[in-house]
């Protein structure tokens, strides 16, 4: 397991709609196998993790959402930037009740809104804290998996120093963001990109890899989600052969059925040709590629376990 997924902080990004939350969930489950403990974190207030594990919306607290094979455990956390700022202020300035009053006034929302870099530093800062946290000299989490913002925003999100440096040249925020950056650029971190075999997600994956490379952020794997089984390899579908096979199987061979099945097969092949080209594009990106199958019944708990199993292979 360890050699497949080096590092302890796994940042999972991808274009919207590629299933990055699902993949992040499956990875959290996979890395929790054999009695380990992982933390799955979301930062965009979408509450995407809770439905994945079939639970109620997550609070700003680390709670157990799943058990992994061999007494492993997945915990999850929805980081809220306001709460993170309050926590931060409380830690350093003992704001207490006054902080709550500020929140009621909207001041915290305001402060995290005026400076997007500040917001991201608070979010990534919380992730860093969880990744490096120890209790009784032992690491609390064997791995932290971040369901990160989509590819379009990932560079800016992870490049916290540059963003905050525009606003704060010195001071605790600067120190904080430098600390976060040190972790993000170290081998502890691995940024994985989730894609589909569709044109735009593949293009965005390529763009994001270019951007992350330039920023010096460690790139992990490309995870191709929802792939379909390879069928009809080298085969040619003709009316007579199909009719013959259907007869052997004892199925109807009426015109509508044969024409319908032929049309479906044709569409499948057209799609697969396009997919094969995109697969080739992905190999050009020079990163390990992992493929996860499309699950026709949707991703329920069993489905998530199936995906986790494949990620562990």
């Amino acid at each position: 397991m360890g050699e497949h997924w080096p590092g302890r902080l796994h940042v999972v990004t991808g274009k919207g709609g590629t299933g990055k939350t699902t993949v992040a969930g499956a990875l959290a489950l996979a890395l929790a196998a054999n009695g380990r403990r992982t933390l799955l974190v979301e930062v965009e207030g979408r509450q995407g993790i809770a439905p994945l594990f079939g639970g109620p919306p997550l609070p700003y607290r680390e709670i157990k959402v799943a058990t992994a094979p061999g007494r492993g455990e997945v915990r999850a956390l929805a980081v809220d930037p306001e709460e993170a700022l309050l926590e931060y202020l409380d830690m350093f300035y003992k704001l207490g009740l006054a902080g709550r009053a500020l929140q009621k006034l909207g001041a915290i929302d305001f402060a995290t809104t005026i400076a997007p870099g500040l917001r991201d530093v608070l979010l990534t800062g919380k992730v860093k804290e969880a990744t490096t946290r120890t209790e009784n000299g032992k690491r609390v989490y064997d791995a932290v998996i971040l369901d990160a913002p989509p590819t379009g925003r990932i560079g800016r999100f992870l490049n916290v120093t540059a963003e905050t440096a525009r606003l704060a040249k010195v001071g605790p925020i600067k120190t904080q963001s430098d600390g976060v950056t040190a972790v993000l650029r170290s081998p502890i971190t691995s940024v994985h990109l989730v894609t589909l075999l569709e044109e735009m997600p593949v293009q965005e994956t390529a763009d994001a890899i270019g951007e992350l490379r330039e920023l010096g952020l460690p790139i992990g794997k490309i995870i191709v989600n929802s792939t379909r089984p390879e069928l009809l390899v080298g085969a040619k579908v003709t009316g007579p052969s199909l009719r013959k096979g259907l007869t052997t199987a004892g199925l109807a061979t009426d015109k509508a059925t044969v024409a319908g099945l032929t049309a479906e097969a044709k569409q499948y092949l057209a799609r697969r040709n396009a997919e094969d080209e995109l697969r080739e594009d992905l190999t050009q990106l020079d990163r390990p590629v992992v493929e996860l199958p499309f699950l026709p019944q949707g991703v329920d708990r069993d489905g998530l376990a199936t995906l986790a199993g494949i990620l562990s292979e």
Partner: protein
Amino acid sequence: MTAADHILQVDSILADPGVRIVVCCGSGGVGKTTTAAALALRAAEEHGRRTVVLTIDPARRLAQSLGLTELSNTPRQVKGAHASNGGELHAMMLDMKRTFDEVVLTHTDAKRAAEIFANPFYQAMSSTFSGTQEYMAMEKLGQLHAKDEWDLIVVDTPPSRSALDFLDAPQRLSRFLDGRMLRMLMAPARGGRSMFSLVTASFGVFSKAVTKILGGQLLSDLSGFVAGLDSTFGGFRERAERTYRILQAPETAFLVVAVPEPDAIREAAFFADRLARDRMPLAGLVLNRTHVIAAPELSADDALAAAVALDQAGDATPTADVLRIHAALTQQVVRETEVTARFTAEHPDVAMVLVPAQPADVHDIDGLRDVGLAFAG
């Protein structure tokens, strides 16, 4: 999948001279931009309307097919559109920073504008503020609408973190720029007049904390930024509210775009509720990437069982694979239907149109025209 009386009549919306704005919204990755472009093309070609499509972040090849090679703040005519009856298609790609700069320039003199442009807060906000793109899209829409040059404006909305951002951002930004909170932050002592002492005290602490965390330079930059904007135009809120009212008017039609996946459908439901709450005119749901079974008589189970039997019998024809393809497609359609039914159960009054999945990605005018066929009434 839907009752006949709940099929969204897209063509009658596009043809209606009373409809001047169509807004496409929905979560990321559902084909909003393609839908917006296909709607605009159809409005121009089939309904003879002088149409402009405002796109936010189109795929490169789709943008090229519309003749958009760079961000542009003025619409350009799309050459490949063959419109009769006086219809025209124009397209533009939102340049967020330039739109913001223009707003500043129209409201202030050059010297003050230069000061504002040089301020690090302005630079951060005009290029990265989490609501700026949404706000500028609305600003641009307001401008296009005010010019009264267009029969129809089709708007693609930014790929927001959540569906709510798009409606909230203008007010959030205007609330910020109107500066009540900022002035309180800058001058905690003066803010005390109408506030409880705890709050006043908090502000002192807060302001101190902010100074400590961010440093004094930052606060003075912030203060300069707000003073610059505030003295030149305090009317951000008014502008945002005006656009908001245009969106509520019957001349606007909102189309929620989704795909039959749980996440997208959940966001669509969320958005439908939000539009209803804000009394925004929701015309219906465009469900992209739906699949169609071409051989509906054969069930997935029967097809799979037969495929296994054929394999065991050593059948040499490709039939087993064809049956597996059919079974997978059938299972997918069943699942899509279930997911969609959840939306329909919660929103029985929302009309819906299904757009079949295209065999390849759409990146030319012909492809957009094909997508538009799904909108034929």
